[in-house]
């Protein structure tokens, strides 16, 4: 540690000014489209638990990992289209693309399909990033590059995510003569698929470059998305990657209060199995779903990563004034 420069910002002033202009561009984009900015609490007493995400605990409750439940209460109250730019917190996430505190843009479109929202995400990204028309975004055909989860897994990881057994998936992780890592032991089926996503599919996205939408996730990774019964059943969920960096995650939002309650309880059960604390479930959110969430699609986007791409920065720390010190 060189203590001598520790007080100075990590990002250059030029980068921080670009951050300000990106925030301005986002607000202008939504103002033009009649989407209203809202603010919801950062400090929560109950949450929507996630298996692989730990909220930051403080004496008065939790710092939000996402504004999703609060924004859905607004939607159930009839607010119409809304967006929010705010800080989100995730315990222990530090790396080239992670800082435990980061800026999240989240928005909801009432009455929209997932496909409509995908088009709007692409439009927003194209107002901020200069992406070559030939790769992965509205080229002459106006087509977006969309990879179905199962196609991407078949092509780049050599597995069938719907059919293959856990031993078959584990075998696909071993490449002949591979100096690269094999997956950690004790992963479940979805865990091995996650590993293959990180080790095989994401590098392929980086190699191809441009904007790629990944869609039709396994139903086991549905989170708060509606499930398309199939068969095979898939989550009505997408993620968008630019140059291999995951930028945003969107859902056709689940509206069934009972199914949502069961999913959150199941996550708490899995958390306990994994040796983690179960978390208090946001019952006000469940009551809002009970009262009626309008059909809608919503998406959350990492603003710091967007800025990284805009500035061609190597690390998320390079676009933050004062990031948590990384290893």
């Amino acid at each position: 540690m060189s203590g001598s420069v520790a007080w100075q910002p990590a990002a250059t002033w030029l980068t921080l000014r670009r951050r300000a202009s990106v925030l301005r561009q986002i607000r202008a984009f939504f103002q033009q489209r009649g989407v209203v900015e809202v603010e919801t609490p950062l400090l929560l007493s109950a949450v929507a638990p996630e298996l692989h995400q730990d909220p930051m605990v403080c004496a008065d409750g939790y710092l939000q990992g996402s504004p999703e439940t609060a924004m859905k209460r607004l939607l159930a109250a009839g607010c119409g289209d809304i967006y929010q730019i705010g800080r989100a917190f995730r315990c222990g996430e530090v790396g080239r693309l992670h800082n435990p505190e980061f800026t999240m843009l989240e928005w909801y479109r009432v009455g929209w399909s997932l496909e409509q929202l995908v088009q709007e995400v692409a439009a927003l990204l194209l107002t901020i990033l200069e992406l070559p028309a030939s790769v992965g975004c509205c080229g002459s055909s106006g087509q977006l590059t969309v990879w179905r989860y199962d196609e991407a897994m078949r092509r780049y990881a050599g597995v069938d995510p719907w059919q293959d057994s856990l031993p078959q998936l584990a075998e696909a992780c071993q490449l002949p003569g591979d100096q690269q890592a094999s997956p950690p032991t004790g992963l479940d089926r979805q865990g091995v698929l996650d590993w293959l996503m990180v080790q095989r599919v994401e590098p392929a996205m980086r190699a191809q470059g441009g904007m790629i939408f990944l869609t039709a996730f396994p139903a086991t990774a549905a989170a708060m998305a509606e499930i398309d019964p199939g068969p095979p059943a898939t989550a009505r969920r997408f993620e968008v990657y630019v140059n291999g960096i995951e930028l945003a995650n969107g859902y056709q939002e689940l509206r069934d209060a009972e199914q949502q309650r069961l999913r959150l309880q199941e996550i708490n059960r899995q958390r306990r199995l994994a040796g983690k604390a179960s978390l208090p479930i946001d019952t006000a959110f469940l009551q809002a779903l009970q009262a009626g969430l309008p059909p809608c699609a919503g998406v959350a986007l990492g603003v710091d990563r967007l800025l990284m791409l805009a500035m061609q920065a190597e690390r998320i720390q390079d676009v933050m004034a004062f990031p948590v010190a990384a290893g």
């Binding site: 692989h52 222990g92 990774a221």
Partner: protein, 186 residues
């Protein structure tokens, strides 16, 4: 044990019963999925570099490795012998274990020896060493600016490039990381 946030470049860890140094580390997480810590590690015994991934909830054992200063004694051709000046304990290393330090070994001088579970596994020379030139072409007086150089054999057997004005029998300072001449030693 080290948690995923402590797996940083330079940390030394024990994996598969062997000691390694981390040369690169990152935290990766696909969407809402399982988080992994990805590390590139270099084997402290044979130098090979591999990649490993861990669940971010896993811990990794710290390698029982210490660096200690020891005096180089001699080589019998098969082993290179060092002594702990405090305890007078001696350790012996093979030429593979001594590695690049072989070029800079001078009897009685101090070197950093890495011990893993008490066994010597590697040697590192100080960044700068002062050694005598045992053989080189005669010096060219006054040529201190041309930048031209000539090979010189040092007392350890290593060959380094030196400026033309340097003479046989002179002592020079060498950077062991680059193997380059730095200056004439006073």
């Amino acid at each position: 044990m080290l948690t995923h946030n402590q797996l940083r470049q330079g940390s030394r860890v024990e994996i598969d019963g062997l000691p390694w140094i981390i040369v690169g580390a990152d935290f990766v997480k696909p969407g809402k999925g399982q988080a992994f810590t990805k590390i590139r590690i270099k084997n402290l015994i044979d130098g090979r570099v591999i990649e490993r991934t861990f669940k971010s909830s896993e811990t990794v054992a710290k390698a029982d490795v210490i660096d200690t200063e020891m005096q180089y004694l001699y080589s019998d051709g098969e082993f290179w012998h060092f002594m702990d000046p405090g305890s007078c304990d001696q350790v012996a290393l093979t030429s593979v274990q001594v590695g690049d330090a072989l070029n800079w070994l001078k009897e009685q001088e101090a070197y950093q020896v890495t011990l893993w579970k008490g066994k010597a596994i590697a040697v590192q020379a100080p960044q700068f060493v002062i050694l005598t030139i045992s053989q080189c072409e005669p010096g060219v007086k006054g040529d201190t600016v041309s930048g031209a150089n000539k090979p010189a054999v040092l007392e350890t057997g290593a060959t380094v490039k030196v400026p033309l004005f340097v003479n046989e029998g002179e002592r020079i300072r060498v950077d062991t990381r680059t193997g380059e001449y730095v200056e004439r030693a006073k």
